[in-house]
Amino acid sequence: MTITDIPLQAYLVVAAMLFCIGVWGLINSRNAVRVLMSIELMLNAVNLNMMAFSSYLDGSQVRGQVFAVFIITVAAAEAAVGLAILLSLYRNRDTVDMEQFNLLRW
């Protein structure tokens, strides 16, 4: 079956919107858990791009799907380590407010 009805650009635009929402959340969240969730949103947006390209431009050799699986792997590792860092940070600073993690600020 060939995909002809939904244009490739529709997927790309949705992924771009999701990525921008993720960037906004990354900049503006003060809860550190929400920052991690925003990073997950951005990774998912990139994954959607990968899958769209894999399906539309590389339909016989689906290399985009392989890359997407690798991205999912790395994202799982990132979430585990990030949340562990967050727990350790919470024990030391007793807060999850990003504005108070300013030890390295000049």
């Binding site: 009805d5 939904i6 790309l12 858990v33 991690l36 392989v66 562990a84 007793d94 030890l103």
Partner: protein, 208 residues
């Protein structure tokens, strides 16, 4: 997937609408628990979009890894660090938000412009449909074998690293003096590493 074209279009619109609304909710809702549950919804809609794109294996991996593992991990983290105190107010927050909205809209305009004006090599080769699963397996064990193995090493490193970072220091002996460590001290609340610069009183004991 062999769906009718109109069904595909309706599914795409519904899924992307749920995706974008859920993502906005993740970012904007004040309660972070609601955000975590909405993140699960976003990840599920993403899996639906993968199914629309003939990628059933990645959709299953997305549901297993993201919804089943990462989202549950985030919920556990929220449960562990759930501190119901309002964030300290700070000046210039509204200005910062508006500025970042501008920046993000600019980025969005740039990305959409690139997506719409690039002459993509369409139509590509015909899609192999459900045979993609066997093709992914061939890729994993032939030309992407090294990244596949490195990914397993990365997962092992992340697992050990997460355990090392998140555990409490339960040591039988003090490292410096060699004396037996007082285990009763370990379950007590540690003093903060640095005094927090807010107005939070340090004398509020909370069970950990």
């Amino acid at each position: 997937m062999s769906l009718a074209l109109s069904t595909q279009l309706i599914c795409f619109l519904l899924l992307s609408g749920a995706l974008l609304l859920g993502a906005l909710g993740v970012v904007l809702l004040p309660n972070v628990v609601y955000s975590a549950f909405l993140l699960g919804g976003v990840l599920l809609s993403m899996a639906g979009l993968y199914l629309l794109l003939n990628a059933s294996f990645v959709a299953a991996a997305q549901v297993l890894v993201y919804v089943g593992a990462v989202n549950v991990l985030i919920l556990f983290a929220i449960m562990l660090v759930n501190k119901r105190q309002p964030m300290r107010p700070m000046g210039g927050l509204l200005l910062r938000r508006l500025l970042s909205v501008g920046v993000c809209l600019g980025l969005l305009a740039l990305l959409v412009q690139v997506a719409l004006t690039t002459p993509w090599a369409l139509p590509g080769p015909p899609s192999i449909g459900e045979a993609a699963l066997t093709r992914i397996g061939e890729h994993f064990f032939t030309d992407y074998l090294l990244p596949f193995e490195v990914a397993s090493v990365l997962l092992l490193m992340a697992m050990i690293g997460a355990i090392v970072l998140a555990r409490r220091d339960v040591l039988a002996r003090d490292v410096v003096t060699g004396e037996p460590a007082d285990q009763a001290l370990l379950e007590r609340r540690r003093p903060p590493f640095l005094p927090s610069q807010g107005g939070s009183s340090p004398s509020a004991p909370s069970p950990q």
